[in-house]
Symmetry: C2
Subunit: 323 residues, 2 copies
């Protein structure tokens, strides 16, 4: 009898990813495609499910017991409805879980993508800790919290919006409508934007690039460009300060950094780790470390898969009256 697997769908503002994942976290097949968010939710979900069917074929049509879906918040994990995330313009009240179930005939579970990735780090990250915060630095900036092996999602179940803690309360406008959120500074999009703005007044090796990305900023900073280095150093300093805030509030044993911008490796991690552990309250800082995820580009799919396995466990194994 084949091992049961789940289908994992990762809906990002830039990329869609699908995969088939076994209960031990093995990714049996994996595909990505551009989101093309301007096409609107119906078209994007259609392409997502086309991609999913290819992934299922590539995994040899295994027994799939459920679908896990990671998506930018806000969303309602109980109903599977997407509630207008800043990174997915036009996705207001999109019943994503129902759309997926109608097409695939499988139970589908939706979760904030960063929350989902946090659960995957706890389940399959190999860290050996029971409480961690996962921060994703990619198109957006967000986070998920696992405390005592359980997801922390706020009272209404859609919280943990760690990307919307404040860097500077009167600072840059954020996609959420407020000012000065971390996401408006340290997401990949915001790092690129801050560098591009600085270019109007300064010379830099970045000036030759048509559309600067966060990866360009990291590479040119490493190569010695002064402007890129300033933007990068400010980014890691802000990240260090934000991680200190998150350590103060959540007191995790571990902060795991993932998402595309963390491809910069130690060039990102070292200053962020130093700044975070120096600025957090000493008792919480002493009990915590800051590391990079090993999940790479598959972090989103592993997160979605972890959610599917977690919800199945919750539905079938949780004894009545358990907290």
């Amino acid at each position: 009898m084949p091992e049961p697997t789940v289908l994992a769908l990762d809906v990002g503002g830039t990329k869609l990813a699908t995969g088939v994942v076994a209960a031990d976290g093995t990714v049996l097949s994996f595909r990505t495609v551009e989101t093309a968010v301007h096409e609107g939710p119906d078209a994007v979900v259609g392409r997502l499910l086309d991609l999913a069917e290819k992934t299922l074929a590539e995994a040899g049509h295994p027994e799939v017991i459920a679908v896990g879906i990671g998506c930018g918040g806000p969303l309602n994990p109980s109903t599977g409805v997407i509630l207008g995330p800043p990174g997915l313009p036009g996705w207001d009240e999109v019943p994503l879980a129902r759309m997926v179930t109608e097409r695939l005939g499988l139970p589908a579970y939706v979760e904030n993508d960063a929350t989902a990735a946090a659960l995957a780090e706890h389940r399959w990250g190999g860290w050996g800790v029971n409480s961690l915060v996962y921060l994703t630095i990619s198109t957006g900036f967000g986070g998920g919290v696992v405390i005592d092996g359980e997801l922390f999602r706020g009272a209404a179940g859609q919280g943990g919006e760690l990307g919307h803690v404040v860097v500077d309360w009167q600072g840059r406008e954020c996609g959420c409508g407020a000012r000065g959120c971390a996401e408006a500074y340290v997401s990949g999009t915001s790092v690129a934007r801050r560098a591009t703005e600085a270019l109007t007044a300064r010379t830099s090796s970045l000036a030759t690039i048509p559309h600067v990305t966060a990866r360009d900023v990291a590479e040119h900073a490493r190569a010695g460009d002064a402007l890129a280095r300033e933007v990068w150093d400010e980014t890691t300093a802000m990240l260090g300060r934000m991680v200190a805030v998150i350590i103060n509030v959540c007191e995790p044993a571990l902060v795991v950094l993932g998402g595309g911008v963390t491809r910069a490796g130690a060039f990102l991690l070292d200053p962020v780790r130093e700044g975070a552990l120096r600025q957090a309250m000493p008792p919480a800082a002493k009990a915590c470390d800051v590391v990079l995820s090993h999940h790479g580009d598959q972090a989103g799919v592993l997160g979605a898969a972890a959610i599917a396995f977690h919800r199945i466990d919750d539905n079938s194994e949780r004894p009545e009256g358990d907290a």
Copy 2:
């Protein structure tokens, strides 16, 4: 047989308070005295316990089953040791629970004062909600979180340091050693300091006051002084932004504001509430309201009492294996 009560001790940077509290939240006796923090932990704890004995006598020497102690964090609620709170200089590794037990011969439980007050709001506030955040705006600025009727204290049990979220990451120095924490702006001490600094360059009705307090700032702002009004408006705007962050991260059904600075009433609440609900993510904001505590000066003692009753329940009634 008399109803069992608890002795409640509230250790603040400015004031000590003691009380005897019944299981329904009735305060049977209540006393306060200046902390005189410069005298050091041994002398302060001595005077705290002298005061406690007076409070016990005034309550008619009731049956006291435990002692609850609220104190500024960081501290370890499991061991009852105080770990150098910014508001209590010199209180490094003070075994407060043990000191109290040795003198009174009763089990003693220590908790972060704002965490404790959050539990009292849940237990006795009359709000009818199961998840709330309590923020105290007094000498310091801090908060406590109750989710599904349980305290949220972070993985290591001393978290929830909501006073150390960031207003401006490169801003004012905070007592915790980092820059730009909320506590460095909106605590009573910081409001007074910001007003005093502004006085050096401006005329104001506050200039006649030898030592400006946050209460003076509120009163002079209400009376029309331009400088006081600017400082007050900036304070309520920052508080609104911080409450929005806390709503984003914790998604409570209610944010309860308490502490001495909230004596300003609607002059504080109205702008903070408006700013918070406007700037929080809409799904979380819709499910939340912002209100003032009714516990007044007794918030600290009620918090300490709530902790004592909670820990007794935890120790005696929690069935084995319950989460």
